[in-house]
């Protein structure tokens, strides 16, 4: 198998005990190249005709920059909401038994399962001034639909499962003795949680929140219906890409898309490195 050539630089003989290196490497690399990387060459191809100055002019145009601010701001708010809410949900789902728990657990995956456009239409219906939620919030002076709050809400909705589903398994694996020790020492709940539990959850929470944030940066379908799309105020970057496409400007669309893509990939790489460090620490080094 061609993968044998790759085995040379690895000193650790232990790794060779398990079978399937060649097969899994072959399939994984073929898949990643064909499905993930090859299509991206299309994007690079579009950009290759641009000079650096032209590229910069497209991605630094005032309205586009305003859309970065809106998108990142709303995604950050959504991520913070999700970190708190997601942690609460994961905690309740793992630590307590109560009627309807299974239903609540199943409900967590709903945002993944619902087409984003449906989510967008539904949220816009609910939170507009004539919707159920909109009516309830209006007396408090809170306007959700067509403001950046609406954008953050839609982003939070589509990405909440990332946090819950990343934190949940870690919390399940935490041994009970940790709690016991803390409680035996007479620590109060809040303190014990912060001192004993949170350090273990922290990496998973950051990972989940990070994934949620990245997901929010690229979201289009769910946001567009509730955003209002006012220039400089409630336009998201995905809309800018969409606008360029409407103008048959593939190059412009690709340029803005490349900014989002690069940002997301860097964030993901950072998350993965962080996660790797955490796992190694958990298992006492590799």
């Amino acid at each position: 198998m061609k993968a044998a050539a790759f085995s040379l630089p690895f000193p650790r003989a232990r790794q060779r005990v398990l079978p399937g290196f060649g097969l899994s490497l072959g399939i994984s690399l073929t898949f990643v190249s064909l499905v993930l990387l090859l299509p991206l060459t299309g994007l690079v191809g579009q950009l290759s005709g641009l000079s650096l100055a032209e590229y910069w002019a497209i991605i630094s145009e005032g309205r586009v920059v305003a859309s970065y601010v809106t998108t990142i701001g709303a995604a950050a708010v959504a991520a913070v909401i999700n970190a708190i809410f997601g942690l609460l949900l994961a905690w309740v789902l793992v630590r307590y038994d109560f009627p309807g728990k299974r239903l609540l657990d199943a409900l967590m995956d709903l945002p993944f399962a619902l087409p984003t456009a449906v989510a967008g239409i539904t949220l816009a219906t609910l939170y507009s001034s004539s919707g159920w939620m909109g009516k309830a919030l209006a007396p408090l002076g809170i306007e959700v639909a067509y403001t950046w709050i609406g954008i953050a809400l839609a982003m939070a909705f589509t990405s909440i499962p990332f946090v819950v589903r990343t934190v949940q398994p870690i919390l399940e694996d935490l041994p009970g003795e940790i709690d016991e020790a803390a409680m035996a020492l007479g620590a109060r709940d809040g303190v014990a949680f912060r001192r004993v539990i949170l350090p273990h959850l922290w990496p998973a929470l950051v990972t989940g929140t990070g994934l949620a944030f990245v997901r929010s940066l690229g979201e289009f379908g769910a946001v567009i219906f509730i955003a209002g799309n006012m220039p400089y105020e409630t336009e998201i970057t995905s809309l800018m890409i969409f606008v360029k496409l409407q103008e048959y400007d593939y190059v412009g669309a690709s340029a803005i898309a490349s900014v989002v893509l690069a940002t997301s990939l860097i964030l993901l790489l950072a998350i993965n490195l962080w996660q790797g460090r955490f796992i190694r620490r958990l298992h006492g080094g590799s």
Binding site: P9, P19, F31, P39, L110, I160, S238, A257, L269
Partner: protein
């Protein structure tokens, strides 16, 4: 055993807060979809669902999903095995690469496929000359669906397999187990819940994908119109009941898979408890 957060008042507050938030944030939209779908009664719902074009959209969506799952299942298992059982340079990069579909906006995902395989793309030009049509036909929809759903299985498996380590498997190999036996007898039982969950997520996303599919579908009714696209079409058409009826079907498919997962988990925990 006294655990953190077991005090009755705190416990009730936290459960109450979680349930209330989930109800407002997640359940309410679901209820709203069904309320709209049945706004004109059961008859209105049924006449929309049994419409020829809706049925064909359901058929196409299920067809694409059924083809997507095995592809991503095999890839996900292979990739997880590779990155958790072997050390090699570029391992971390490979792990990040499979997150590309998470990082990329679905519309852009559809666009890159179109730029490559469309008539003006460098592969698409050749295909067009040979009268092979991938984009604006079901193969194109399948391709982008595989693209957007490929991280789910791998992402579920990797942390679990990493945490479990490979000691059991190494022991089995030492005892002379062959590759396939090893996987079936040792690895699979350990990862089956994560695997199942990965499949469920893949299924859910494949059924519901909108952005990427909308770019490559061509939206030919009765032929390349998937259920999520059909929802949008009906909505554009002032047929709110029809749009939400189709949306409710999608929600039902989602709920059904989630229920199946919950059911399987419950049976497994009961079996473990009785053993």
């Amino acid at each position: 055993m006294q655990r953190i957060g077991d005090a009755p008042v705190l416990r009730r507050t936290l459960i109450g807060a979680a349930v209330a938030l989930a109800a407002l944030f997640l359940l309410l939209p679901l209820v709203a979809i069904f309320a709209q779908a049945f706004a004109k009664g059961l008859g209105g719902f049924w006449s929309n669902v049994s419409d020829t074009y809706t049925l064909s959209a359901i058929g196409l969506t299920l067809f694409i999903t059924v083809l997507t799952i095995p592809v991503n299942l095999v890839f996900g298992v292979m990739l997880a095995w590779l990155v958790t059982r072997f050390q090699f340079p570029g391992r971390r990069l490979l792990q990040t690469l499979i997150d590309i579909p998470f990082a990329i906006s679905p519309v852009v995902a559809g666009l890159v496929y179109l730029l490559l395989y469309g008539r003006n793309g460098w592969v698409g030009g050749w295909l067009d000359a040979h009268d092979i049509q991938l984009m604006f036909a079901w193969p194109g929809i399948l391709m982008v669906t595989i693209f957007v759903t490929c991280p789910f299985v791998a992402r579920e498996l990797i942390p679990l397999m990493q945490a479990q380590g490979s000691r059991e498997e190494e022991a089995a190999v030492t005892l002379g187990a062959s590759g396939f036996t090893l996987f079936r007898r040792v690895t699979l039982p350990n990862i089956r819940w994560a695997l199942l969950y990965g499949v469920i997520l893949t299924n859910a996303r494949a059924v519901g994908e909108f952005g990427a599919v909308s770019v490559v579908s061509g939206a030919i009714r009765g032929e390349t119109n998937t259920l999520p696209l059909h929802v949008e079409l009906l909505y554009q058409d002032y047929n709110t009941v029809g749009a939400f009826a189709s949306a409710a079907l999608l929600a039902l498919i989602a709920l059904f898979t989630l229920a199946a997962k919950a059911g399987l988990e419950w049976r497994a925990t009961r079996r473990e408890a009785s053993a």
